[in-house]
């Protein structure tokens, strides 16, 4: 089994996620990019788990997915609350926590 293609895919999606987080201004897109990064890591975990024949990698993925689900709920709730307050989800406009 070739692990390299899995890792390549994982790295690619991770970088897409990073670029999304850094470059996009829409909070929902940024949020989705974060999820993409999480899942790319999950992918590499599963790939290593299968490659090494060790089930612990997959167990960790389940944990990550559970936490990600909860985090998604909280994150979306924050974005909705933010939108209600500022009528925008553009991150450049949300900058009051500064000097």
């Amino acid at each position: 089994m070739d692990i390299q293609s899995y890792l390549l895919l994982s790295a690619t999606t991770f970088i897409i996620g990073v670029v999304g987080v850094l470059a996009r201004r829409n909070a929902i897109i940024v949020f989705m990019s974060i999820e993409l990064m999480l899942n790319s890591v999950n992918l590499s975990l599963v790939a290593f788990s299968a490659y090494l024949g060790d089930v612990r990698g997959q167990m960790l993925v389940f944990f990550a997915m559970t936490v990600a689900a909860a985090e998604a709920a909280v994150g979306l709730a924050i974005i909705i609350a933010l939108f209600r307050r500022k009528q925008t989800v553009n991150l450049d406009d949300i900058n009051i926590l500064k000097w």
Partner: protein
């Protein structure tokens, strides 16, 4: 049987604690007064029992030390080991002082019940007074220098507290800072001037420890007996200790606090600033007589300072108009006599004068208190006169005290003062000059005392019709009568051999001063015709002083005015107390204030210390001002930096 001697010290301490902790809650003046004076009375009873038991013993058995506990113990086993215990030494000298302190103290406490009646700080007053007695008893009964110093500082503290007892009252310093001073200024002055003297005492004590390796009286004096006369270190020790004495006992150059100390309530002046605390210096010199005997130079200094103080203070007393100020200068002058006695190696005579002076000076102060009480806080004798009609008891007792202090036989002052004058003349350490100064002072004393009596009690009334003088209550007059009795008979314990007496006080104190007298190798004086001649001369001068004062102030009042007009410079100089306060102000106080303000405050404190503190804060602030711009509030910028950091680390890891 000596084992209960610490009780003497314990009672006033209990009184102080009780009154200090719950006394202010008691609304009952009578109860507070009974507790306050009762504790001192109990101490007196214990001391008196002890005294009578000592009378029945052999002289060498009379000394006894009761050690209570170890106070300080360091470097044990090394040459510099210091061990100080709280222990009380009862001997001929300390029991005498204890009897004076508790006996006169008790009478003054009783008097205070009447004098302080209705005062808002009634219980506070008795609290401080009991604390004073406690400290004073520690001073006189201590068996080592450190405990003595504790008492020494303690009485200074109580003096401060009691001078400033009416801390919100205005106080006339007599020209200096007019109209602005309050009694707390007088209290501070007393405290600070005493601090100078106390520093001398402290240095002397350290030097004693270095030289003798101990602070115990027994050890130090024992080791001192083998030293030779003129030992350099001992000269310094005695000079420093004497500096302490000049502070506490108001001698030149540190006497200036005592006249201002009259700002306190009159019983305080009687107890602390006449009868007991101010004699602490004399007691200390007497206690260290062996050290002084080793230092003839210091003896000379003591004698000269004593004699000069005696005359100088007496001349100032001639023209003062405040009844208490006159008595204050009189006290300074009489203390001068005591130091004169110490300086001419007449230790017993000095202590004898402490005893008689305690009686008649306490009486004079208490009498003046009764007058002030009767005149509703008026202290100016120019606004009195003719009071003997209204205050018969006060007048009679005051007169007795005035005769006693003037040195007219057979009143107590005659015996003690004459003893000092004779010793000043005949002792190897005395001289004609010292004697002449003493006699001059005695004449002046008689003059100003009878000026005081005449202006206050006799002649025409010079006060307004709205003043109705009245005799003091019984609690005040009874102590007056008892003290008057003591002022009359107190001298009989020291009738000299020339007057067919045994001079029992000198014999009683003999063992205390024996080592010092051995060192000095004094030749016992035989009774000579000269002694009678000098005695007659000093009595004649005293009587002359009385006569002149009575003539001037009762019959020919215009004479006083004429003299004033004839010698305006001398009068102004005396009235302004030789401008000593002004001189100290110009030489010490003003420069200190100026230097403190310009250099210490505005230079060191504001520029350097505040500059360092504020400067470091400002530096951090300026740096932060620039750096804080990094925090933009845009989360994505943080994330970018974060990722950039990770990339740097990754590249470093890969290239490594």
């Amino acid at each position: 049987m000596f084992s209960y001697s610490p009780l003497i010290v314990l009672f006033p301490l209990l009184g102080f604690l009780f009154l200090g902790l719950i006394g202010w809650r008691l609304k009952n003046e009578k109860l507070i007064g009974i507790i306050g004076s009762g504790t001192v009375g109990l101490s007196f009873v214990v001391a008196a029992i002890l005294f009578f038991q000592m009378l029945g013993m052999q002289p060498e058995e009379r000394k006894h030390i009761v050690g209570l506990f170890t106070w300080i113990s360091t470097f044990t086993g090394t040459p510099s080991s210091l061990s100080v215990s709280v222990g009380y030494q009862v001997d001929q000298l300390s029991i005498l002082m204890t009897l004076i302190v508790t006996g006169v103290g008790f009478l003054i406490h009783v008097y205070s019940i009447g004098y302080m009646h209705g005062d808002a700080g009634f219980s506070r007053f008795f609290t401080y007074m009991n604390l004073f007695i406690f400290a004073m008893l520690n001073l006189v009964l201590a068996d080592n220098f450190l405990l003595m110093f504790l008492g020494w500082e303690g009485v200074g503290l109580c003096s401060y507290l009691l001078i400033g007892f009416w801390f919100d009252r205005k106080f006339d310093t007599g020209g200096y800072k007019p109209g602005t001073a309050t009694t707390s200024d007088a209290a501070k002055k007393a405290f600070i001037v005493n601090r100078i003297g106390d520093f001398g005492f402290l240095l002397g004590m350290l030097l004693i420890f270095m030289h003798f390796g101990s602070l115990n009286f027994e050890t130090v004096f024992g080791r001192a007996t083998v030293l030779s006369v003129g030992d350099k270190t001992v000269v310094w020790i005695t000079l420093l200790l004497f500096l302490g004495a000049t502070g506490k006992s108001a001698q030149i150059p540190l006497y200036v606090w005592l006249p201002d100390a009259m700002a306190g309530p009159t019983p305080v002046s009687a107890l602390i600033h006449a009868a007991t605390m101010v004699t602490a210096g004399v007691y200390m010199v007497a206690r260290c007589s062996i050290l002084y005997a080793l230092a003839p130079t210091t003896m000379q200094v003591v004698a000269i300072i004593g004699a000069v103080t005696a005359v100088m203070a007496a001349t100032i007393g001639l023209v003062q108009n405040d009844i208490k100020k006159v008595l204050a200068y009189s006290t300074v002058s009489q203390l001068g006599y005591m130091f004169l006695a110490m300086g001419v190696a007449a230790f017993a005579a000095g202590i004898f004068h402490v005893l008689t002076h305690a009686f008649f000076k306490a009486l004079l102060f208490l009498g003046s208190g009764a007058v002030i009480h009767a005149m509703h806080d008026e202290q100016d004798i120019q606004k009195m006169g003719g009071l003997k009609k209204y205050l018969p008891t006060t007048y009679k007792t005051f007169l007795i005290a005035a005769i006693a202090i003037s040195g007219i036989p057979p009143f107590s002052g005659f015996f003690s003062k004459d003893e000092i004058l004779w010793k000043a003349f005949s002792s190897e350490y005395g001289s004609v000059v010292l004697w002449a100064l003493g006699v001059l002072g005695a004449g002046l004393t008689a003059f100003y005392m009878f000026r005081l009596v005449s202006l206050t009690f006799e002649g025409e009334a010079r006060y307004g019709h709205d003043v109705h003088p009245h005799e003091a209550p019984k609690t005040m007059t009874i102590p007056l009568v008892i003290l008057a009795f003591l002022s009359v008979v107190g001298g009989f314990v020291g009738i000299p051999a020339s007057l067919l007496g045994g001079n029992s006080i000198e014999q009683w104190l003999e063992p205390i001063f024996e080592p010092a007298n051995d060192k000095l190798s004094l030749i016992p004086q035989a009774v000579t015709a000269g002694e009678y001649l000098l005695m007659a001369l000093s009595v004649a001068i005293a009587a002359g002083g009385i006569y002149v004062a009575r003539m001037v102030y009762l019959r020919r009042a215009e004479l006083a005015e004429q003299w004033k007009a004839k010698f305006p410079k001398i009068y102004a100089m005396l009235f302004n107390k030789y401008y000593v306060d002004e001189a100290y102000d110009a030489v010490v106080i003003t420069p200190t204030v100026k230097v403190s303000e310009a250099i210490l405050w505005k230079g060191v404190d504001v520029s350097i210390i505040d500059g360092l503190v504020n400067g470091s804060a400002k530096l951090i602030g300026t740096i932060a001002q620039g750096i804080r711009r990094v925090q933009t509030g845009i989360a994505q910028q943080y994330a970018t930096i974060f990722v950039g950091g990770i990339l740097v680390i990754l590249i470093w890891l890969i290239l490594k």
